[in-house]
Amino acid sequence: MKQELYNYILGIADNSLILGQRLGELTGHGPTLETDIACTNISLDLFGQVRSYFQYAAKIAGDGRTEDDIAMLRKEREYVNVLLVEQPNTNFAYTMARQFLFDVYHLAFLSELEKSKDLTLSAIAKKCIKEVRYHERFSSDWIKRLGDGTEESKAKMQEAINDLWTYTDELFHQTEADIAMVSEGIGVDVTKLKDGYYKYVNEVLETATLEIPESKYFQKGGKKGIHTEHLGYLLTELQYMQRTYPNMEW
């Protein structure tokens, strides 16, 4: 139970960690000052969430590991984030599409996690949900703006949605930790979020005058630690200081 709860928390937190890291790459390089501030702010929110989750995970592990050890000293195969969040900032359309496709899931997920029997997770979810509601508003607004903006922006956004679509199905795959925690009344049954997710996402895409991708082929593996080639490079930066200067305090 302890190990499963620990694994379950990692399954939630790694998504925020990796997406926060991706957004952090953009600070100072956004298309406008306002979007720069917003993306940095979302990154900041996500890392704040990560700290809450990993502090709790460290407590559960109870073996002296700290939040930073958990965040920065695992091997690539031990990160269990979904493939979607590790995809690169190819351009602003990809960044916003990735954000939107994750935010809609994240918001639905936290709305359920709020009801968890685990009071710490429920409290974290309550705090996070306010932030994520804003993230979703921001990203869905940009889906509409870019989808229904100029011909160029529409083409770019459509391409981003088409490319990232393949990573959406994995959001609703259950891990072993998921199954165990759902049966305890602690975890969220993500399979139940799927219909609502696609219904809402499709509505936004339609409003944005974008086409809903028809592809039925999906990628998976992140939740089992089998990632795309992008993750290793992201981790190299994330872990640089901890690896180069082991066992030091900062």
Partner: protein, 318 residues
Amino acid sequence: MSEEQIKNLEKQFEERIARDEKIEPKDWMPEKYRKTHIRQMSQHAHSEIVGMLPEGNWITRAPSLRRKVALLAKVQDEAGHGLYLYSATETLGISRDEMYEQLHTGKAKYSSIFNYPTVTWADMGAIGWLVDGAAIINQVPLCNTSYGPYARAMIRVCKEESFHQRQGYEIMMKLANGTPEQKEMAQDALNRWWWPSLMMLGPTDAESIHTEQSMKWKLKRKSNDDLRQQFIDQTVPQADLIGLTIPDPDLKWNEERQSYDFGDIDWDEFWQVVKGHGPMNKERMKARVGAWEVGEWVRDAAMAYADKKQERKEKQVV
């Protein structure tokens, strides 16, 4: 308006400033006042925006989650400062796009300190402690400057800067009290950032062209050399406290002046960087211009979308 009328207005204007009244955007002001303020305020805004780059450089590599969160928040604050300084400058009749244009073409300057590279984590500490420290010394007097929107913006900016400075010093303190490797990293950062930080307070009074007029308009309250002395006197004990050495063999307490004497500043280096030939001038401008150009289609889309939305709204009303 006759020359006499203008002279009269100018006289009244100077009297208002002397009485410590604030000048507001709709008030009459001499053209030179407007231009000087556009120059200084936009330069200040540009410094905040370009200043995001050297620190942004370490966001993905921050050594702990706590430090990463603090650094993100700090860089976000800088973007926020840029935003309200641009807005304050817009009240003087120039658009943000025009100001960007001036930055991108090199017509407008930004603080030269950001043309140095951030090569280790300790640079995040040194920038907070020294660069923000010097900035505060420059900026606190501006909370009482004569132009209302600038003064009000500066009150908020200074509060946040002083938080950043403490945060930077705390990073340095942690390193200085850490392992020998960490202490060496901190000392190395101090060695590299000390002299450029002294230069941040501007050329010596003899070489400073804007000082006299700026004093009158309360854009400046103390001379560059006085501010520099204040910075040194305040910073040396802070370095002592954490066991770091200021890289100046001539630094010595002067009992008579109750101040530190210090060595010669390399003004050739200062002017080289100001004129665009510092270690990172080209990269910083490339990053800013690059972000602007790459983002053009996004801004165009946002405009097109806003227009469409407005059109639809009007149609509904009809």
